[in-house]
Amino acid sequence: MFINDWKVVGPELFLGIAVQLLVVLGVWYGSRPPYSVLVRPIKALSMLTTALTLWLIARSNIYGSVWNESFSFHENERIIHIWILVGCLVALVLANNKTVYENSLFILFSALGMIGLAASQDFLAFYLTLELQSFCFYILAATRRTSQYSTESGLKYFILGAIASGFLLFGGSLLYGATGSLCFSDWMLLSQVEKPMFFALGMVFFFVGLLFKLSAFPFHVWTPDVYEGAPTYITAFFALVPKIAVLGLFFKLLSTSFYSSIEQWQPLLVTAAVGSMLIGALGALGQQRLKRLFAYSTIAHVGFILLGLATCAWDTSFFYLALYFVMTIATFSFLLSFGYRNVNELAGMGRTNPALGIAFALLLFSMAGVPPLAGFFGKYKVFEAAIGAQMYSVALVAVVTSVIGGVYYLRIIKTMFFTKVEDVAAPVASPLATYLFSLSVGFLVFFVLYPAPVYLFAEVLSIS
């Protein structure tokens, strides 16, 4: 029995041990100058480790719950894990850091945390893995020690994150008090029998923590600052990966443990979703800084994802997240390959590099939800879910916010193409990021021709 547990977690075990070895390697060779000598090898080794873990997970066919039902590794979780690791791989590819090797390791550590988070079946396991990833994130956000913005970002993230964790723990203790168990599946069983008043209260506090991690309204305040302050590839990592793990867990909780309390959480989630859409759409209107703008756009996208959850249309959420994932990869690989920071730096892009300019314009059209690009289908599915749940007014708000959202995406396009600039030097692009960018924009453009795999992917994930 015990041996079997280890077999199930084999890939994770490999990841954990490999990261420790890399740390040892770093300490061994990195303790004397020049410190930067290790950056490239460790990054390459991290990528290799991630790729190997991916391969191991893809190959592993042993499913089961381990360690007293604390973690469950079944098909769904495995797909989420693969998704998380792909995200980490993308972040590592995009990483253009030249001074500290530790960042690659922190990305791997947090990947370990997120894998555990998505697999957790028990409040304690959930909390510990959540903190593992969160601590890595705080450090990553503050990684540019000399920059005021980066330290501010790390500190803000840490303090607000700590408060969210506090709420989470409080919620967990209330739920424990109500049910006498920390196990998610026990909550499901017990909540069907009888629900003490503070079961709902605990659930609400629990959601506070999760919504914070998803950067959803009303716990979104940290997002623009953290996105702005952190180095861009770290921002890309924050935007890409944690959402997957948290959504995976959120889905599991809502569809099992808390499903019988749907009357209580549905209005809460709808409020959070609508609020996120509004904040995301209105907040980005006046932004000049690209990263802040995309932070708000992330909040808006999270609103759409949450609306899918709130209407119990799980596949909608995963579908939207998959498209969001590709769009985020495209956005950040574009930003990283040219190093743009402000919207007006993009002026004349359409002239100096028309091919990339048009590709970026298509990406923005896709984010604005203009058909036939992929982003439209995500929004369509969310609207469909809202209409299906008879929430006509919510659907109307979603429609209006997506129009407002269009304004700022189009503003970027306008800056790129419509403004006359004298002569701008054609920006130098980093090849790897540009390939990633072209690949993901290609996906968004040609999605309409053969969308079935993504629909199927979301469908498979939503069947638990």
């Binding site: 203009v370 609207f383 209409i387 659907a395 429609v399 269009g406 304004v407 189009l410 419509f418 309409v448």
Partner: protein, 476 residues
């Protein structure tokens, strides 16, 4: 057949992608060649079209997530032809006036052509929406990149957001339909009936989208802006085809899918049409920009179209179809005329032009001809359309017909006055120096338009035959 017509422009784009952008002449030739090929293909549709068959022809199924049908009937046949015809003409007409980003320009045109053919042929509500919206992307870029003045950003925005906001309501309606019937297939939906209250709700949502596109009067603000700022070819496409998307939507979806709601809203539509006709005709009189004059007169003509569409009788509906087609070449030709002037003098203000007859006789003839066509002169295509539309309105409601007929008088007023100001009087040599009449390429562009206008004016039966059965089916 249809899929060739849709795929061909994309093949052209693929070829264009491999041509170096310095080689502008080759790029233009490839673009024009692809467009010409599309036009020939669509002519083939007309030749093979069976006038005696009820329902859709050349039907094709594409397996998307669900089967999606493409097909044409009498209503959509001429829109497809109009699209391919105008795309080709536009590329030829702006052969020299577009000098920047030629490759992207050609690509935008071909993309737009393909999407427009899709809009007119697809028999699925969701995909109608998708293609209806996707036309925004090339048009937005066209106004913004090749537009003329500083206000083009604003114009592109207005164009984009008016349409987007309007059509998202249509999207919600489509979702409601999809949710309640489980399909968005047009042919299936034709057989479903809705309760009257539900019909009214859906009709209004569709109206929000189509009224912006037509445009009907309170929603028309974007049109003059977009027309003024767009490049000549953009204006031609906008007036020639894009405006018809709205009226096509009415005749294809609103009327057959929600017949009771359409009957319920007929007085409303009549009122809106009369307001559009009279108000915009009066507005046209006060404009000083050549393109704005034609833009506002387009709104007035579209008023005649919506009037005809909701008369509910065959004559009125066929009249509406005739006006749409006729407006397709007449207003396009007028925009091309303005383009001819703009290419030479880079201004569109009426006050700088005077007495052009003396220096540009050929141009004067063409301009006068299309102005006359625009006011609905007997013997031109507009006359056929407006007469039928008014006759239909007369049958439906005499008062409405009389009020709408005022529009024809006002139309004559602004058209003749415009001709008078631009063409006659002494030459303004201190402002404009150096004149050249139409060159051979420009004359060649106008020739087919003149031919079509006269043909449809003198013998409209050729155009009515394919339309006839579809309209009859709609009214029954």
């Amino acid at each position: 057949m249809l899929s060739n017509l849709i795929v061909l422009p994309w093949l052209g784009i693929l070829v264009l992608a491999f041509v170096p952008s310095r080689n502008t002449d080759l790029i233009r030739k490839i673009g024009a060649g692809t467009a010409a090929l599309c036009f020939v293909l669509s002519l083939q549709l007309w030749v093979l079209f069976d006038n005696q068959a009820v329902g859709f022809q050349f039907v094709e199924v594409k397996n998307w997530m669900f089967p999606v049908y493409f097909g044409i009937d009498g209503i959509s046949l001429f829109f497809v032809l109009l699209t391919t015809f105008l795309i080709f003409l536009c590329i030829v007409a702006t052969w020299e006036s577009i000098q920047t980003h030629v490759k992207a320009y050609m690509m935008a045109f071909l993309v737009m052509g393909s999407f427009l053919v899709c809009v007119f042929t697809v028999l699925d509500l969701l995909f109608f929406y998708i293609f209806f919206e996707s036309v925004l992307i090339p048009m937005f870029l066209m106004i913004g990149i090749w537009g003329s003045r500083a206000r083009k950003g604003r114009a592109a925005y207005l164009f984009f957001f008016y349409t987007l906001l309007g059509s998202l309501f249509m999207l919600l309606a489509i979702l409601t339909i999809a949710f309640e019937t489980g399909t968005t297939d047009y042919q299936v939906l034709l057989t479903t009936t809705w309760s009257e209250s539900r019909q009214i709700f859906l009709w209004v949502a569709f109206f929000a989208s189509f009224a912006v596109k037509v445009p009907m009067v309170p929603f028309h603000i974007w049109l003059p802006e977009a027309h003024v700022e767009a490049p000549t070819a953009g204006s031609v496409m906008l007036a020639g085809v894009l405006l018809k998307l709205g009226t096509y939507g009415f005749i294809r979806f609103s009327i057959p899918l929600f017949p009771e709601a359409s009957a319920y809203f007929t007085p409303f539509m009549f009122t809106m049409s009369i307001v559009a006709i009279v108000y915009t005709s009066l507005t046209t009189l006060r404009q000083g920009d050549l393109k704005k004059i034609i833009a506002y007169s387009s709104v007035a003509h579209m008023g005649f179209v919506t009037l005809g569409l909701f008369t509910g009788n065959v004559v009125g509906l066929e009249g509406a179809m005739m006006i749409m087609l006729s407006h397709g070449w007449v207003s396009s030709a007028l925009f091309l005329c303005v383009g001819v002037l703009y290419d030479r003098y880079h201004t569109r203000l009426v006050k700088y032009y005077q007495g052009l007859t003396q220096a540009m006789p050929l141009f004067a003839i063409v301009f006068t001809f299309f102005s006359m066509a625009n006011l609905g002169f007997p013997g031109t295509s507009s006359f056929a359309g407006e007469f039928m539309s008014l006759a239909g309105a007369f049958e439906a409601n005499v008062t409405v017909a009389i009020l709408a007929a005022i529009g024809t008088v006002l139309g004559a007023a602004y058209s003749v006055w415009l001709c008078n100001r631009v063409l006659f009087g002494p030459l303004q040599t201190e402002v404009l120096s150096g004149y050249s009449d139409l060159v051979r390429r420009e004359a060649a562009v106008f020739a087919p338009l003149i031919f079509m206008t006269l043909w449809m004016g003198i013998y409209p039966e050729v155009f009515l035959q394919p339309i006839h059965l579809s309209i009859l089916y709609l009214c029954a």
